[in-house]
């Protein structure tokens, strides 16, 4: 990071214990994490969406490909969407070899992120338990474990006695409705401080010259030569972006939004097969740490982790109804609490502190849409459903490569938009939908 700072010739912004002490003694103010820049009239590339995907893309564009004249636009503040609303779980124990390879790369990048970006993203490699409450889910756990083992991913099925050792708060006694018969145990899985990932990418990208523009809403994407109105649509090319702060000319626009992906893409005349559903989550008041791992139950539609601050963080499945409304519901908290107490009756006196909701862009095959779109210069990294956070680093890396080289990297080729025309859907439904 010292090297990052030097590239821009900026002062010693390096984060370290020594720097904390030095500033503590001197009483000095830390430099801004990213600059407040004037919005220019032209950029080499514009990224729509200042979440983890957009910022990671910007970072890798600058770092791996030297493309630094980049603006990241967000209509609110950085990390205001799904990046700051997810439950921050990462793992690589997927079901298909393709899924395992993709997410394993992401996990590797998370693993070294603190030192790569010189910000402590607090990756807590605490292990990840996916519980099986019936013999059919136990069979699926065995399947995942066998595939994972062959891919070199640390993952195995453990029985109730061992589960009790890993997470003593789980009720492994005989239980009529949801007995805990076993679990897929994935020691490398864990949680990451999601906001720190946002800030880390933004800060590192900023150091290399990328500009972050908050409260800058994209109103239209300017195209020419396309089949549709105003030169939009297939066959056309991107020439600029109209924002709430004025027009920008650029040959490349990358749509890295979640929740608004289909609306932004429509601005370029690109239709996406996406429906948007809210996903709710909630957090309790803190208590002393008692839950050392991430616990997921597919049958009970719940995933639970306890932060280092002592709060239990809960998530669930997406709401069944497609809507852009992100108001939470009472029923969600009732069902959630009921399910949590099935698993851990001992927490009945813990208090729910806050509930919230975020938007998930769901595709028909539970896989993202990545890469080129038929409109020259308009790329998408969207449709991330409920699993976008886990994939952010590798997505950014691959999208940056696509922008820089003009070719689709092999790792994301299966996720091309064209698959919805050719019918070659990705078999990730089983892989990605198995839970968090």
């Amino acid at each position: 990071m010292g090297s990052l700072g030097r590239r821009l010739g900026r002062g010693p912004a390096k984060y370290s214990a020594a720097a904390l002490v030095w500033r503590g003694l001197r009483g000095g103010q830390w430099p801004r994490i990213w600059r407040d820049a004037e919005l220019k009239r032209s950029y080499d590339a514009v990224i729509v969406g200042g979440g983890v995907h957009g910022l990671a893309t910007a970072y890798y564009l600058a770092r791996n490909h030297g493309i630094k004249d980049v603006a990241v636009l967000d209509k609110a503040y950085l990390g205001s969407g799904a990046s700051g609303r997810n439950t921050a779980i990462v793992r690589a124990n997927y079901l298909t070899p393709e899924g395992v390879a993709f997410y394993d790369r992401s996990l590797q990048l998370y693993n070294t992120m603190a030192t790569d970006l010189n910000i402590n993203v607090m990756f807590s490699e605490r292990g990840h338990l996916t519980l099986a409450h019936n013999d059919s889910s136990l069979r699926t756990m065995h399947w995942r474990a066998e595939v994972n083992k062959l891919q070199g991913v640390d993952s195995s099925v453990i029985g109730p006695d061992e589960i009790k050792k890993v997470a003593p708060s789980l009720d492994t006694s005989s239980h009529p409705r949801y007995p805990i018969l076993g679990a897929l145990y994935h020691p490398p899985g864990g949680i990451v401080r999601h906001d720190a990932v946002v800030w880390g990418y933004a800060r590192a990208a900023d150091c290399m010259g990328v500009e972050m523009h908050q409260k800058t809403e994209v109103l239209d994407i300017l195209c020419e030569g396309g089949d549709g109105t105003d030169g939009k649509g297939p066959g056309g090319r991107v020439v600029g972006v109209r924002t709430s702060r004025g027009d920008i000319s650029t040959p490349v626009v990358v749509n890295c939004t979640a929740g608004w992906a289909s609306l932004i893409s429509a601005m370029a005349g690109v239709r996406l097969p996406i429906t948007t559903h809210p996903l709710q989550a909630a957090v309790t008041e803190p208590v002393k740490v008692f839950l050392p791992t991430v616990v997921v139950s597919g049958s009970l539609h719940v995933y639970i982790s306890q932060t280092d601050r002592g709060e239990l963080v809960f998530g669930a499945a997406v709401d069944p109804v497609a809507t852009y409304s992100i108001r939470g519901s009472l029923e969600f908290t009732e069902e959630l609490a009921g399910h949590v107490l099935e698993l851990m009756p001992g927490v009945s006196r813990m208090r729910l502190l806050r509930q919230w909701s975020g938007l998930c862009d769901m595709t028909p095959d539970y896989s993202p849409v990545m890469g080129f779109t038929g409109v020259d210069g308009f790329l998408v990294d969207v449709g991330w459903g409920t699993y976008g956070f886990k994939a952010a680093p590798v997505s950014g890396e691959q999208m940056a490569e696509a922008v820089a080289t003009g070719r689709t990297p092999e790792l994301i080729a299966p996720f091309a938009l064209s698959r919805f025309d050719t019918g070659e859907l990705v078999g990730e439904k089983g892989a990605a939908a198995v839970g968090h």
Binding site: L20, L78, G79, E285, A337, M350, L352, L353, K429
Partner: protein, 950 residues
Amino acid sequence: MTMGRLGNAQPTEVIDRGAKLSFRWNGKRFGGFEGDTIASALAAAGEQVFSRSMKYHRPRGILTADYWDPNLLVQVGDDPNVRAGHRRLEAGMEVSAQNVWPSLRRDIKAANGLVGRFLTAGFYYKTFMRPARLWPAYERVLATFAPGGKIDLDTPHRYHDKRYMHPDVVVAGAGPAGIEAALAASADGARVLLVEHEHAVGGHLRYDSRDTAVAALAELRAALDASDVEVLTDSTVTGRYEDNWLGIVQRSHPVAVERLIKARAKTLVVAPGLIERPYVFAGNDRPGVITSTAARRLINLWGVKPGERAVVFTANADGDAAAADLDRAGVEIAAVIDGRQGHRVSSTQGSPRAVEAVVSGGNRIEADLLVVAAGWTAPTSLLNMAGDRPVYDPPAARFFAADPPGNVLATGGLAGDGTLDELRAHGAATGRLAAQRAAAVAHRLQALTARAQPVGGEEPPWAPDDRIPLGRDPHPELYRSDTHGMVDFSEDVGSKDLMAAAGEGYDSVELAKRYTTATMGPSQGKLETVNTVAAIAEARGETIAAVGTTVWRPPYAPLTLGALAGRGFEPVRVSSIQPWHEANGVHTILAGQWIRPDHYGDPAAEVRNVRSNVGLIDVTPLGKLDLRGPDVAKLLNLLYTNKWSKLPVGKVRYGMMCAEDGVVLDDGVTGRLGDEHYLMTTTSSGAGGVWEWVENWLQTERPDWRVHVTPVTTAYTSINVAGPKARELVSRVTDGVDLSPEAFAYMEVRTATVAGVAGCFMWRIGFTGELSFEIHVPAGCGLHVWEALMDAGDDLGVGPFGLEGQRIMRLEKGHFIVGQDTDGLTLGPSTGLGPLIKLDKDDFAGKPELAWAVGRPLPMIVAIQPDDPNIVPAEASQIVAGDTNQILGRITSSRMSPTLGRSICLGQVEPELAAGGTKLTVLLTTGERVGATVMDHHAHFDPTGERLRG
């Protein structure tokens, strides 16, 4: 001792000095009175320190003396984070301080205060990165700083209840305005629920000992008692959701630990009053610095003298009233610092309790109590949840309701200021408006319901808001003094932290909140949000209005998971035959919601008995849908991949369903019972999902089709009679049906009387490969028919068999199970049932994807036999390419076959390996690799099906 109980009873006190209670605090015995809170009893006993702050472990005392007091979170028995400022004292309570070690008095982590300047907000993002291998150790240390109490994992899920209500008007908050609103609405004929957060109604009148206040409260209470208003105290409206759907937690309930009330209010009146805001200055978190409300509550509610010598910093009339209360309680007033005159408090000094206050101009005043009245925060949460975005008014120095939806009305402090009479009048006007609008909403709702009684009369007009608005008292904007102090007491975040964060670029409220964690603790921003906004505004050089506030999300007050979960209904289902199973040594297995027989001791013996004699299996969980109407055949054509138009009455047919992505969704048989009457069966696990699937198609895609769907899974007990002697057995108990193979062939259905029970459906199908009759008996008679079959077949060797026996036999026959041998990726043709996919049909679910799949190489389900007949590869064993790790398939089902005396499997393999005779390598879960062979047929046994057609 500086705090203590006042000798003389106060006119407004809520304690019963005749009823002494004994409890323990940190292991030591203490006493209190009935009516005390935990905090008031401890304060009366002279306790000054109740907790330690989260990060620096600074000693903390009473701040607000109510539910929102961030310093009064304690452990009571197995209950963590109990609000000692609110929870009533009970005899025998075991109360202890949280998150201190070794003790509250001597807490080792207080040493953090010495290095506080290095531990600025968010410091952890900037360190502990190298060496990376030490981070887990750092993390463990950081985790010890988690605040809060302790969970006792043995805490039982005690009895919690739920209640549903449909009141016309819900009033949240029973201060004078709220009570008047409830009374007025009730007088106008509305059914009214009045919800009060505290233990009694009255709001701020409760701790106002002036004669006018005492008289007014008595009058309001009497009026409430005489009214039809339902009053809930110690209860909170925790959330307002779509269409005034309210969550209300009732903490004091005679039977349940807590009760969650779910109410659909036609109108909601929001009247929570105001919450006093702390003032930010150095040492504002020292014990002895309290809000004016806290001082008045301590004196007037519990007769507690909060100190000996006080400095009062006041910027409003309530602060003046506090000074008067203190004086009356015998507290020496060392100084009154008037914020309205521009005077300020700068800092306090002393340890742990404030012993010296420094005021503007540098004057130092000795005191042990600093009472602060610096302004008010409007708890606008419920308005926020209704979509309102409250607006900051600088002259009044607080936020006000902006423009809530018409069925949400604010009154009291959220609406403005005024004399007691003005507040009461505004409340009453609000109640009348709420009742009028509720009547209009009721009329609309009734008119919406199709089959309801015809709505009489005209819809009442939507009453205009003609309330006389309350005024707004001017108030100085007091947020931070000339020093830095604590903003978020729960999270130990100071104004310096916030301003530093803003300077570092976290300069919107949301970013600063996320970076510093300010407003994210248990008091949920009630005390600290506006001070947080003020600090950001100051750092940015902007106004509070420009910075704006964060979005308040539900719940308004934290509520327990127990209350939300309620009684924890997770029912299991059993068939009507379960008593017989239990009496006969059953080993059960959980399948979805069902508990069903897995076996009765020896599944292999059960298999041999079915293959040689006859067996009975309880298949009640099989999904069953009764379909009636002229368009059923069209529906079946749409849902199944094969054709149904020509199915005659009396026949059954097997069908496979695919989802729209072509993936196998379910399978089963459907029989035609009459011209327009069919019975569809689904897999047991798919019963609920298929019902939803059917309804989804009918309701959203084909609403014009006339099909009536009734799920009848539990209306019938289903028994399969299987084995070579099945016909003989069934004939002994059946009347009215010719069971001969000529008259009742394989894949046919009849209605029969079985064991005297009329109206049974019987069809000849089976999963076991044997001659089978599946009998669907009206559920109430299921046990009778089962026992009749058992009795009648004694000489035939009849015996029960369970799921495991059936699984073995179906595997011997090579029948796949959806969800076991198929998965979320398995397209229809992969099952080997390609001929059942009729692409020449007009349309059916999954057709485009299945058409795309034609001719493409797909993984296939095949029968596999290991070369070593004694090796049973575990299900999920991978099929690999020789010695490599390349995956070519997997074993999906495997068993030792009692019939064949060898191991048998089904598996999925890559298309090039699907031909019979192909040699495979199976990687066992032990790591060993063994050889296996793909079979020519799915069926390992009786591939031509002679036995089941017999």
